[in-house]
Amino acid sequence: MSGDLDHMAGDLELRYRRALRLLPRYYRDHWEEDMVSAFLESSLTGDPDEDEFILEFSRPSWPELASVAALAVRLYLGGTGAPRRYLAWGQAVRRAVLAVLLLRTVLVLGSFVFLAWTHHLLGWLPASPAPVASVVTSPLVRGPLPAPLNLTLATSGGAIETAPWYALGYAYIVVYVALVLGRYRTAKLFAVLAAGPDLVYLLQLWLADHQPQQIGPWVGWILFSLVPVLALAAFHRDAPPVARRPWLLALPAGFILVTVPSLALEVYGHARWVPGYPGLGCILVAVACLVQAARARSRRTDDSGAWSLALILLAAAFGIMRIAFLAGQLHDSFLRTGGVIQLVVLAAAVALVALDGARAQGAMPPPRVGYPSA
């Protein structure tokens, strides 16, 4: 390596600088020139002809680009010591992911109760009608329950055999607990496993040509399964530890809040009033927005703004899911009206925390001590 970089800098440098635009401005201001210089030096061989060719025609390697992308994720979803705006977004994404995983865990735990009820193990409750459309391991997987782990999903076009590995959906319990306990690697591994059953279920429906026109379940899988897995990247080494006690206590609280009313509605013959997970998400986020709006009013802190941002993210996700599912329910006036009401309530509630969320991004603080001057 050597060569007159001054004269030879070409497309390789431009391409690398383009990749560096992924990084936040404050970071580039401090590190960009240094990164470009180190990158170019690491790319050259010392042979002037070869180096000229490399500088003019080569591109940054995929691993190199991946390292920049990973750095960008870590910076935008900031952790301890990050500028206020990026810390707020980092905390917001981490809380939104925790909230979605909490809901998934509650739904999975709730499925045990429904299983017990439909198998007449809860003798003190009225017997369930058969077959019962219940939630099994995943809110996407609904159907009669011949056996807990060996399902046959009856659809209008016939039965779809499913496999015991649908039980992987129960991995959400491990994902949530591991995340709260700071075992991020375990959580990420199990999150990938847990997202599988829903996808297979949707692919089965698609391949069997059942309800091919409905986009709701696909949007649901993307926002309720895939995006949370990807967003686990926010739980990096610099992320502040999760507050264990409140998030662990939220599990039994959520279970009671969600499962008991759902079970009561099913038991007393009002199963139609049990909302699907997009509707349930809209209702829960709307309630959380009301609580947060009151909290932000009484005591404003930086932390409160991150909660508002988290609720805005959740409202966007569940709002999109609600709309996507609504598109397939327009023929049913009950579901249509319910869906529209949920959307209106959600929009009104999220407006209450929008200002607080915007404030959280606030002015950027001066660079941390230890940064070289730009």
Binding site: L5, D34, S37, A38, S67, G81
Partner: protein, 121 residues
Amino acid sequence: MTWQAFFVLTALADGPRHGYGIVREVAELSQGKVQLKIGSLYGLLDRLSSDRLIEPDRDEPHDGRLRRYYRLTRDGWGALEQEADLRAATAHVARAKLSLPRPELGLPRPDLGFPRPETAG
């Protein structure tokens, strides 16, 4: 402390280095096993400088560009010393355990170049 951070601090232990100099030194120290990408390196430098374990030393012109050199701070020196002691102690224990006879594995006792611990029988 991660392996990568340990190698970067070790690379700076004998004097200031610039970004690519650190990449080369880390590759050499690790016998080619740790090949830092530039994005990973600057993520690490950012973290180490915010933890005040390293700091900028000087800028030097090279081929029409400025190379920025980094050096260990006093805290960085202490952290590296502590980590090096820990890793050396762990390696010593591992070596000592490996020197114990394990006939069930059919392994010969290696000559480790230091006295073996006393074993019963």
